[in-house]
């Protein structure tokens, strides 16, 4: 019965192959062919990959994506921690604040997109109205910066609560004695945060950082519904770029860019994870 371990692994392997291996193999297969509707696919080797890498639109989308993800992380992580610090720790306010905080997480992506389109619409939207009071002419469908920042704002609104909830759970887990000791040591509020709270939050923040990084790389429905990827290509992020290519039936090209996209996500997540765990290890020794 040497095969018994494989027997136990079989259900997982079957599920994995349906959900991951087979689609991945299919996409890799696409990426090596030139496919036109109706005709037989033609094997072209790595030509699609070369084309993708030389495509300035692809490089633009990748650069935009990296900028977007980095900015989202830089805003959402500190803001989430800040929100968590402001939440009540006990008493009647806890339940209601957590529920209110969680609401954005419960709203489906497409609803988020439509709601924000209403907010930002130049004729009836509340955001252009408010900004016009301050003399700023906001136009999400004409101004590239406005469009980019709006998508960023939606992402921050949508996902900061997740970071806040994680940080809140982390804060609740810090034993009170650490704060008592800090008080006895005559520590200032800032130093208490710097040397007690922050180091103790590190594990949950690492988790939050990774989740948010990978998720922000997948941003799709917000730009699709709000800006349609425009104006120009200002909000065409990676997934939107790939989807557009597939919609245009350039399946080989879309396949190749998907694989490169996947590769970038994996590599970036790995680098990020290594960086975080390495820096925490260095602090430990």
């Amino acid at each position: 019965m040497k095969q018994r371990p494989w027997l136990f692994l079989l259900p997982t392997l079957i599920l994995m192959s349906i959900s991951a291996f087979i689609p991945l193999m299919a996409v890799i297969n696409y990426s090596l062919h030139t496919i036109f509707a109706g005709s037989t696919p033609e094997f072209v080797g790595l030509q699609n990959y070369a084309d993708v890498m030389n495509d300035s639109q692809f490089r633009g989308a990748l650069f935009r994506q990296l900028t977007f993800s980095l900015m989202a992380l830089l805003i959402e992580i500190p803001l989430g921690v800040g929100v968590a610090l402001c939440l009540p720790r006990k008493g009647g306010g806890v339940g209601i604040s957590l529920v209110l905080l969680g609401i954005p997480l419960l709203i489906p992506y497409n609803v988020v997109g439509i709601v924000w389109r209403l907010f930002t619409q130049s004729d009836i939207g509340v955001i252009p109205r408010v900004l016009s009071i301050f003399g700023y002419e906001y136009n999400v469908s004409l101004d590239a910066t406005d469009a980019f920042l709006t998508i960023l704002l939606v992402d921050v609104w949508h996902w900061t609560p997740l970071v806040a909830l994680l940080a809140y759970a982390g804060l609740q887990a810090i034993p009170q004695t650490f704060y008592q000791a800090a008080e006895i040591d005559g520590t200032s509020t800032w130093k208490t945060f710097r040397y007690v709270t922050l180091p103790k939050l590190r594990p949950v923040l690492t988790l939050g950082l990774l989740i948010r990084f990978m998720d922000s790389f997948k941003v799709y429905s917000e730009p699709l519904l709000l800006t349609g990827g425009g104006p120009g290509n200002a909000t065409t992020f990676m997934s939107l770029f790939v989807a557009r290519k597939a919609e245009a039936y350039e399946l080989g090209y879309a396949g190749a860019s998907s694989i490169i996209y996947l590769y970038v996500v994996i590599v970036m997540s790995y680098i990020l994870f290594q960086f975080i765990s390495r820096s925490s290890e260095r602090k430990q020794t």
Partner: protein
């Protein structure tokens, strides 16, 4: 260092049940002399930690006074009381090195860096931490962390007292001895006023010169370890201190003295005579160590059956029975006895205590 006094101290915790409040501490009076090693011993929930938190100012007492060297400190905030506290779970600043941990409270008080270096060096030398100076505290084992957290407390020269809240609980048994030795060493070298809270009598008796025993928020007895063992003031103290605890036997008065639970247990006349004029509930207490035993019959000794034998390495504990009376006797490991045997037991007068309504009778 300072003399720490608590006067008529009371503390109530508001419970969640409609403003009902429960006493954690009631009318407490204790004085800990300057530069002494003290222990506060009692079962869990008797208010020990509450007392420490009142001394350090983390909790405000409902009423009563806290005095440092005779000065009332009730209204001083924690950081101005100059207390060092070591908690049950080691508290260190994980991201700092051992050196920085010890220097932290000094730097927080704006001390000159040369002073900080000199003092931190001294403390590391004393606590044997020098070789760990540059190690990140997060990577230390719990015993080392506990030493660092002690060091942080005593690094300040203006420390009034060092409070230790069950500091050995999470420490590996092998490392416990070493840590306790270092605690004792630091206490002795720096003439620290230490208050060591524990529910472990062994830790309390081996560490402290002076042990205060508490129960339900009140002091039962405050004395040297020896006095607690030899002359426990209440049956609770007798039972709580010692392993196994003191035997407690309910007594009745008779025309000649005392009898135990109406059983044919003989008590020496000198014990009985002292108590036969008293009113109230009378109890007899004798430690298992002091119960004399013999496998041969002796006149006026009590014949008792061995119900069971607990083997404890260097000694054995016999569970003896006669009628309704059950006692424990500690005998040497070679004592030739087994379950079901009969032996003869005797309570020597000078080792037997009489308690009237829970108070020891001085004879």
């Amino acid at each position: 260092m300072a003399k720490i006094e608590l006067k008529s101290l009371e503390h109530r915790y508001e419970s969640s049940h409609k403003g009902k409040s429960a006493f954690a501490i009631e009318d407490l009076n204790i004085a800990w002399e300057d530069g002494t090693a003290n222990a506060l011993l009692g079962p869990s929930g008797c208010g020990k930690t509450t007392i420490l938190n009142i001394i350090s100012g983390l909790i405000k007492p409902t009423s009563g006074e806290v005095l440092f060297d005779g000065t009332r400190v009730n209204d001083l905030p924690t950081r101005e009381r100059h207390i060092a506290q070591v908690f049950q779970f080691p508290v260190v600043y994980d991201t700092m090195s051992v050196f920085d941990n010890l220097a932290f409270p000094l730097r927080n008080r704006g001390q000159d860096e040369s002073v900080v270096r000199a003092r931190t060096g001294e403390i590391m030398e004393l606590l044997d931490l020098s070789k760990l100076a540059n190690t990140k505290s997060g990577s230390l084992n719990p015993a080392e962390k506990q030493i660092v957290s002690l060091g942080r407390g005593i690094a300040r020269t203006d420390t009034m007292a060092v409070l230790l809240d069950e500091p050995l609980t999470v420490i590996d048994p092998v490392l416990k001895l070493d840590l306790r030795r270092k605690l004792r060493l630091a206490q002795h070298e720096l003439k620290l006023t230490m208050i060591y809270v524990t529910h472990d009598q062994h830790e309390a008796l081996t560490f402290a010169d002076h042990v205060t025993i508490m129960k339900d928020g009140a002091v039962m007895q405050s004395d040297t370890p020896e006095a607690l063992f030899l002359t426990p003031r209440t049956p609770f103290v007798g039972y709580f201190i010692g392993s196994p605890g003191m035997n407690r036997l309910p007594c009745e008065k008779t025309s000649t003295g005392l009898s135990v639970a109406g059983s044919p247990i003989a008590i020496q006349e000198s014990i009985g005579l002292a108590a036969n004029k008293l009113d109230g509930t009378i109890e007899l207490g004798i430690r298992p160590e002091f119960v004399e035993t013999s496998i041969e019959e002796k006149p006026s000794w009590n014949r008792m059956a061995i119900r069971s034998v607990d083997y404890a390495g260097a000694y054995q504990v016999l569970n003896l029975e006669s009628g309704t009376v059950r006692i424990k006797a500690r005998v040497e490991e070679r004592f030739p006895s087994q379950e079901g045997d009969f032996i003869w037991a005797h309570f020597p007068a000078d080792k037997t205590h009489i308690y009237v309504d829970g108070e020891r009778l001085d004879r």
